[in-house]
Amino acid sequence: MNSPKKLVEIDNINVILGGNCVIDQVSLNIQAGEIVTLIGPNGAGKSTLIRAILGLLKPSSGKIKTAPGLRIGYMPQRLQMDRTIPLNVQRFLNVWRTRNSISIKTALKHVSAEHLAMRPMQEISGGELQRILLARALLRNPQLLVLDEPVQGVDMQGQTELYQLIHEIRNLYHCAVLMVSHDLHLVMSSTDRVICMNHHICCSGHPESVSNDPAYQELFGKEAVESIALYAHHHDHSHDDTGKVVDHSEHLHG
């Protein structure tokens, strides 16, 4: 399962949106079968990075290479769908089926949501919707699952369950997972590698080592103690208001 095959190779990309450098020289590889979690504060460019990987936006510079014929299953942060579209869960999923898709029944079973099949989309709860969106991402039998904040709008209990589910799905589909998360402690047990980013990659590695990394502690400590203007820095660089690196000594990339 953990073959060294590279699914995605991101080579030193920059994304500039509206004059702001949202992604700053990010390099990152995703190997087959591994779970990679992107973590970072709001507006750190996590979703932008995901959009670039999906081909929804073009990097201003740098290259993104994906394995030929790579099947990506994408679960967006939220669904834009208008309430006036009369769709039940099964029909919703059916719109996204292709010739090679796994069956809707199987996908729903794998996210434990078979009972929702005939339910109108307008009547499902936040947690249920996340499962339906996950089922949708599974339809293509993906080699890479891309999940943008998969636990958004789900209560704590549900979040733990959802991460557990994602872990199980990885084992079932032998797919790699790239997901965005806010909370390292919740994803710790269900992730192989953590990338901590704030426009650039601050630190990365095994979840345990990242949680002890000063760059990580600075990034998240700052949020926790937001009322205190000055915060002691014990690491190689710091960020100004826009998240740019102020003190640019050597720091980790990728």
């Binding site: 999906l54 081909g55 929804l56 990506i72 994408y74 967006p76 669904l79 834009q80 769908m81 208008d82 309430r83 006036t84 579209i85 009369p86 769709l87 039940n88 029909r91 919703f92 719109v95 996204w96 109108p120 307008q122 009547e123």
Partner: protein
């Protein structure tokens, strides 16, 4: 019944048949103001057609598509909100159309373009309407799935590899065709209502996108028939009579008690 009534009924039904499904997309995508803007710009198309001495239907289609493309282009630059942009374009194109027709110095019955003139539909206009109906329904059937996909979630559709911009353009082309053929029926000021009222009424009765689109066609036909009959009976303006009939159908649909519709509570949204 007199011949002109049969002509009117056929023309009205032809338009209602395609206005239903397209109107459903307008409702789902919250594009009613957008449709209004396109319809208003149709008058500019008439002026263009007269000036260039070309078929007025084609001139209207071209004009609507151009306005739609301009809108999409301006929208992407986001220097002003879409809502405001639509308001500016809707009324400036309408005014430009009215003034251009005046300046051309030809005798044109502007009121018939604004509010429709269904009772004078000619054979050649009927042929136009049914050609438009067949073309639009064929395209809708062929591209139903991609159209539905971008309507559910554009970004998701894009991530799945759908050519979102092209499909959006197709939808605009379809709207332009409907506007061109429907102008005769209810006029540029009322076209959007013929699209969205039957679709909104159908929402209450249906559980799938396809059934909503088809039910909207049927309800539109009912509104057209009721409107024309009422207009002949009481000598009222035909276009507005059809729109009012559609509104009555809409209210009727929402007055049906939920338990008659046999669906779980809360779905009718």
């Amino acid at each position: 019944m007199a011949d002109f009534i049969w002509h009117a009924l056929l023309a009205g039904i032809g338009v209602a048949l395609i206005a239903g499904p397209l109107g459903s997309f307008v409702v789902w995508r919250r594009m009613s103001y957008f449709g209004d803007t396109l319809a208003h710009s149709a008058l500019l198309g008439i002026a263009l057609g007269i000036a260039l001495d070309m078929n007025l239907n084609i001139a209207v289609i071209i004009c609507c598509v151009l306005i739609a493309v301009t809108l999409v282009f301006l929208q992407q630059h986001r220097f002003i909100s879409t809502d405001t942009l639509l308001g500016i374009l809707a009324h400036s194109t309408l005014s430009l159309g009215l003034i251009s027709i005046g300046l051309l110095g030809v005798r044109v019955d502007i009121l018939s373009y604004l509010f429709g003139d269904l009772l004078t539909v000619t054979n050649s206009e009927l042929i136009w309407i049914f050609t438009g109906t067949v073309a639009v329904s064929t395209l809708l059937i062929i591209f139903w799935r991609p159209l539905l996909a971008i309507t559910i979630d554009e970004e998701m559709a894009q991530a799945e590899g759908y050519p979102v911009t092209l499909i959006r353009l197709l939808l605009m082309l379809l709207m332009a065709i409907v506007i061109a053929v429907a102008m005769k029926i209810v006029g540029v000021l009322l076209i959007t209502s013929l699209m969205i009222i039957p679709a909104a009424a159908a929402r209450r009765l249906t559980k799938s996108p396809e059934s909503m689109a088809l039910t909207a066609s049927v309800l539109g036909c009912i509104a057209v028939i009721l409107g024309i009959l009422a207009s002949v009976e009481w000598d009222t303006a035909t276009g507005p009579s059809i729109v009012l009939a559609a509104a009555v159908v809409f209210v009727g649909c929402y007055l049906i008690p939920t338990h008659y519709l046999g669906k779980p509570k809360g779905e009718a949204g």
